[in-house]
């Protein structure tokens, strides 16, 4: 079976989720990677050194600078004839592009898979992860998005797969990129961080997120938030962990002032070790936590930062 993985990148760096998608694709068969962008040779070079990748296809064109679904889908559709499965990590970019590709190929996409059962059968979470569906594709061609946290990262090797340049179809001219406002942070990206510390409604204000940041700095972790905290304006939208925000599965997840709504659990339940800090002993978060502290977070957080510093 031949598979093609759409690389996630910003024209400068290959994003880590691509490595997880490659591991998933290797479970299906041989793997090529498509890098679609502008001035993105460095990304193609990085993709070529992923262990297990046979070949990198590079579509380098100015209209692919911003990954507009209308322009990224056509090269995938054009290449699809040579592949049995097209995969992308289930990032906001992969979620945006792949269903467009699937519809153009008349394929029913399988979203956000968390396990490969066999070449045609996959597991995926539904109902915010409260149920796991096993689905079998009845069609020959498959379009799949991959839950990155459910697969290991493919290692980077010293070998170099060949890079083949391909001609991208012309722009669709129905959409234009205007601007992007990206959060600047020195901390690791939420979806790939080894440690995540998240705050909920219990934080009381945006200012008190500084207490979480102090702990995150000690652990080299990322800071997340529950939907309630984002809705209350304590934290930016792109820090939301949950069914409709980001799905994370770090080695260590610390939930602070978070009650543990189903919606939030869906985004962090696969974390290896979960710590809950909450003043309410009945908070549902304690039912999934490995370690719990029933205490006032405003006492605990400074003490934790201090303890970790020692």
């Amino acid at each position: 079976m031949r598979t093609l993985v759409l690389a996630e990148h910003d024209n400068l760096e290959l994003k880590a989720q691509t490595l997880n998608a490659v591991t998933c694709a290797l479970a299906l068969g041989r793997v090529d990677v498509l890098v679609a962008g502008a001035d993105c040779q460095a990304v193609a070079d990085a993709a070529a050194s992923i262990q297990g990748v046979d070949k990198v296809l590079l579509a380098d064109a100015i209209h692919l600078k911003h990954p507009l679904a209308e322009d990224v889908a056509p090269p995938l559709v054009q290449l699809a004839v040579d592949y049995d499965a097209l995969l992308a990590p289930a990032t906001t970019s992969g979620k945006n592009v792949m269903p467009r590709v699937a519809a153009l190929l008349d394929v029913q996409q399988i979203s956000d898979i968390c396990a490969v059962v066999d070449a045609d059968t996959f597991k995926r979470p539904i109902y915010a992860g409260n149920a796991i569906a096993t689905v079998r594709s009845l069609g020959a061609k498959k379009v799949i998005t991959v839950r990155a946290t459910a697969f290991d990262s493919a290692p980077i090797g010293s070998q170099r797969a060949p890079i083949e340049t391909i001609e991208a179809p012309p722009p669709a001219n129905v959409s234009t990129f205007v601007s992007a406002e990206l959060t600047q942070s020195n901390r690791p990206e939420l979806s790939c961080a080894g440690v995540v510390i998240s705050g909920g409604r219990g934080m009381g204000s945006g200012e008190s997120f500084a207490l979480l940041e102090a702990v995150a700095d000690q652990l080299g972790g990322a800071v997340g938030a529950s939907r309630a905290a984002v809705d209350a304006g304590f934290a930016p939208n792109d820090t939301q962990v949950g069914q409709t925000g980001k799905v994370v599965a770090p080695e260590l997840y610390i939930a602070v002032g978070i009650s543990g709504a189903i919606q939030h659990l869906a985004g962090m339940i696969e974390s290896r070790v979960i710590v809950a800090i909450n003043s309410d002993p009945d908070a549902p978060i304690f039912r999934v936590a490995d370690y719990g502290l029933v205490a006032d977070l405003f006492d605990v957080l400074p003490e934790l930062a201090q303890e970790l510093e020692q």
């Binding site: 979620k95 269903p99 915010a128 149920a131 569906a133 129905v174 980001k246 303890e307």
Partner: protein
């Protein structure tokens, strides 16, 4: 300009679902059903565009069993002008739903189609993108802001790492994220008024859509439960456990 808004009937977001022990699915008998929350946001946006004089008519579409008409009535009570119910099995796949909506778009000629970004039952997050593809239109997914001016839609999208603004030619497809707006509660007079608004009934055959499933659902199971752990007495004890027992720091 006419706006088409697609609404899905799903298990209410407050209900804790029960997975059947035999692996055949999720129990929906006697369970409270509501409009998919993201579709409520899409409906609210459509109604606001009408109130602002940008749109002249809002048409709410639902595809599914007869009960889907209740969901259309909810949209009508929020301010949609009329409804279209396409009779189908409740488990229609997103590709088939997108085909139905594209057939309706060719009949209704909307300037904008609004949908929720995903349904909270199958969590597929596909229909809007597929619909845009089938129509050859631009797509503004995961929208947190939408302005219509001079024949274009300016959409602010929620993406990993921040926000992105796109300009889309009309007609286009926009899918609503959580923070596009806060949907209104329908008032009692509007709920009464909605009862007399028209709902057209159509079938898949009339729209020429083949909805044969492309996927076979083999099993639906509850996820492996996570065991509750230990309640600790102090921060020092927590740090000690994380170091020596869990070995994560």
């Amino acid at each position: 300009m006419r706006i088409l808004v697609a609404v899905k009937r799903v298990v209410d977001y407050n209900v804790r679902i029960r997975v059947r022990a035999d692996g055949t699915g999720v129990d929906t008998a006697g369970v409270k059903m509501s409009m998919n929350p993201f579709d409520e946001i899409a409906t609210e946006q459509a109604v606001r565009l009408k109130e602002a004089g940008v749109a002249t008519e809002v048409v709410a579409v639902s595809i599914g069993e007869a009960k889907a008409q209740d969901t259309i009535r909810t949209a009508l009570a929020m301010g949609a002008d009329r409804g279209i119910h396409v009779a189908a099995d409740a488990s229609l796949e997103p590709l088939a739903v997108a085909k139905v909506l594209s057939a309706l778009a060719r009949r209704e000629c909307p300037g904008l189609i609004l949908l929720g970004k995903q349904a909270i039952d199958d969590d597929a997050n596909q229909t809007a993108q597929m619909l845009a593809a089938l129509l050859g239109w631009g797509q503004g997914t995961f929208a947190s802001q939408l302005n219509i001016e001079d024949g274009t839609a300016r959409v602010v999208r929620e993406i990993d790492g921040g926000l992105e603004t796109l300009s889309l030619k009309l007609p286009c497809v926009v899918s609503a994220d959580l923070r596009l707006n806060e949907p209104r509660y329908a008032s009692l007079p509007n709920i009464m008024k909605a009862k007399s608004k028209p709902i057209d009934a159509l079938t898949l055959g009339e729209l020429g859509v083949d909805a044969t499933p492309r996927l076979d659902v083999l099993a639906i199971e509850a996820p492996a439960p996570r065991q509750a752990g230990q309640i600790l007495g102090s921060v020092a004890e927590l740090v000690e456990k994380l170091k020596t027992e869990a070995k994560v720091i």
